[in-house]
Symmetry: none
Subunit: 401 residues, 2 copies
């Protein structure tokens, strides 16, 4: 956003910005006509919004339901349509694998082959333990192909991720996955001459894996797809002049934050308190603090209205731990909505509260979708949030004389 003029406007100073993201925060009304955020008692957030500004944001666009990747890139100030994060990268992040520039990440399935025909693309949904055992076998026997290092890690049930590391890798190859059962396995084909080596290595991997798994029916071969490399993206420091840190428990969000150059310190545990304690611990080292709470989304996905309410209330209760650090600007929002009546991510506008030295104390008095719709911020694209935070903190100079 405003990429032609932004570099000349960046002003580095000592202000501290906190972006607290409750994953899947916000939603739509249930049969009683209320949302989780409306029902939750949130005295601390209500006090913030009463003295600050309210609004709603759209993570990607009108009617577009964001995955975790686009949802977070928008909040980090990157256009999620311009910067698309590949499925292989997200799979690797989800199992906490490193992906570095130049690496090629992909998703794998264990699957069942009978008489040369794929008969089950999920190998009868083998257990996660079985998956780990099989991945160990593959790891032991496939460490390198030609000059390319091979890294494999088990996911849940039949899923695993593969990262190829080395020179001249390309994502321009076709999926080695017939997508339906009843067909023969297909090879990865190079879609460009520069991808011939990568296709050869991927096919060799499948050939070796099929030999190693020969006696492991129903998980006796593998499918690979979703090849992707890291997007060529400026870091937060390059783009916004801010040293940024990600405080998150789940590997997926830590991985997304790493893409834009955020540090991802280890946490002492997995509670909200552990996360907020870590913010305090690294407070002097950064300008921008992205703090991620996962469970609001999980309860929404489970259709657990009350669980989501309780999680919001728990975060509100612990909020003074962050406020005591005296951030110059704090924003609280979600990366998308996950209404428990919908049991999945949704396209609804996401509630946003913003509080800094110069925020307008508008008429919103409690933190809810309905009150946010009255706010002076209005409806904004997610990318704008970081700019509003920076403006309030004096991190953006005047444009033009």
């Amino acid at each position: 956003m405003y990429e032609e003029i932004l570099p000349q406007l960046i002003n580095t100073n000592n202000t501290k910005l906190v972006l607290l993201v409750l994953d899947g925060l916000g939603g739509t009304t249930n049969a009683d006509g209320v949302t989780e955020l409306e029902v939750a008692r949130t005295p601390n957030m209500d006090a913030l919004i009463s003295s600050g500004s309210a609004g709603l944001h759209r993570p990607v666009g009108y009617g577009i339901t964001p995955g975790s990747g686009p949802g977070h890139l928008g909040l980090f100030g990157y256009n999620p349509i311009k910067y698309q994060i590949g499925r292989g990268i997200l799979e690797a992040f989800g199992v906490d694998m490193e992906v570095n520039p130049g690496d090629l990440a992909m998703r794998g399935n264990f699957c069942t082959m009978e008489n040369g025909i794929i008969t089950d693309r999920r190998a009868g949904r083998i257990s996660t333990d079985k998956c780990k055992e099989l991945v160990e076998k593959l790891k032991n026997k496939i460490q390198q192909i030609e000059d390319i290092k091979i890294d494999i890690k088990a996911g849940r049930e039949y899923r695993f991720a593969v990262v190829l590391r080395g020179d001249a890798l390309s994502a321009m190859i076709s999926d080695a996955d017939p997508q339906t059962i009843g067909k023969r396995p297909i090879k990865a084909m190079p879609l460009s001459p520069i991808a011939e080596k990568t296709a050869r290595i991927v096919n060799k991997f499948i050939e070796m894996a099929t030999e190693i798994l020969a006696e492991e029916y129903p998980a006796n071969t593998v499918l690979l797809r979703g090849y992707s490399k890291l997007a060529d993206i400026k870091t937060s420091t390059e783009k916004y002049g801010m040293r940024a840190v990600c405080i998150a428990v789940y590997p997926m969000y830590r991985g997304l934050a790493k893409i834009v150059g955020m540090d991802t310190p280890q946490l002492p545990g997995e509670t909200t308190e552990d996360e907020f304690e870590t913010v305090k611990k690294v407070w002097n080292d950064y300008d921008f603090f992205f703090v991620h709470i996962k469970k609001t989304d999980s309860y929404g996905e489970d259709g657990n209205f009350d669980g989501k309410v309780r999680k919001i209330e728990e975060v509100d209760e612990k909020l003074p731990m962050l406020l005591d650090l005296k951030p110059d600007v704090i924003a609280i929002t979600g990366d998308h909505c996950t209404p428990s009546v919908h049991k999945s991510h949704s396209w609804h506008p996401v509630p946003l509260l913003l509080k800094g030295k110069y925020t307008f104390a508008d008429d919103a008095k409690t933190f809810s979708e309905r009150e946010c719709a009255k706010g002076i911020i209005g409806h904004i694209p997610a990318e704008a949030i970081i700019l509003l935070m920076m403006a309030d903190a004096g991190k953006l100079k005047k444009f033009g004389a």
Copy 2:
């Protein structure tokens, strides 16, 4: 905005549009939770907004604090990121110099050189009177270099503006300004072969000025920077089919209006009444009247809450002078916010009222940021204002059958 379709939609008719701009109007809440516009008694504006529509506009973009140039270009219906007005042009406008297409404008500082080293970039902040005296000396002795006419005018303290007039001038030269003290003066360098002549003339100017100022310590040489030419921009008449006039006291705004082809008649004095009288005088000659009130911004910059309140009230009191002319559409807004709690331009959305024959009478009953946030216009980019005014006045035809 909508440049692909706008030319076919323009409809010329006899309607009259008034855009009244209170510079720096709007802001953020102070310690008492109110703004200048909320405190000001504005019965005339309140009556207008009660029967008209309210909204908020963003002059450049989210979180972006506009200078006067971008702030006004947006109001005139030009994208302020696409059309950037150079610093030299604004400096020249600020001291009421003419800048015509092809001219090259730049900013100058008198400065101090000791033993070939710049020791003060502001020449000890010499007085404005001294500046005028030195500029007279330069003007007398440097009227032309090669075939290029040289025009110089004093600004405040150590500042002056230079406009070169003639053929083949280019802004593609480097600043003749080391930017810090303790360094030797540097020459302007051509950044393109087409700029060689311009660099030679600028360097000759500095050489001649340094000779003329030899005995004028501490103002014994000059720095030049901010070279700029007029943007290639369509006039209001070309773009909107309207004969447009600017009623403004300050040279900066008159200069900005000239860029888009507005006429700038002389005023009988500097009061709001003088300005409104001039609108009446030229009422039959134009379609679009840009009326600029400066002092609201000045009081905001000074942190003078009450002064800004009083100025808003004074404009409101005189407003019937404009309303008696029966404009078909009137819009009242600012070019940006200047909250007195912030003491400078800000990024906050700017209140807007619009009243014409077909404007929706929404729920906003008083002219304030808070009420405007409820308005039916919503949040719009500044560029959209002129289109909404034209639409209401029948100056935009139907798009498509």
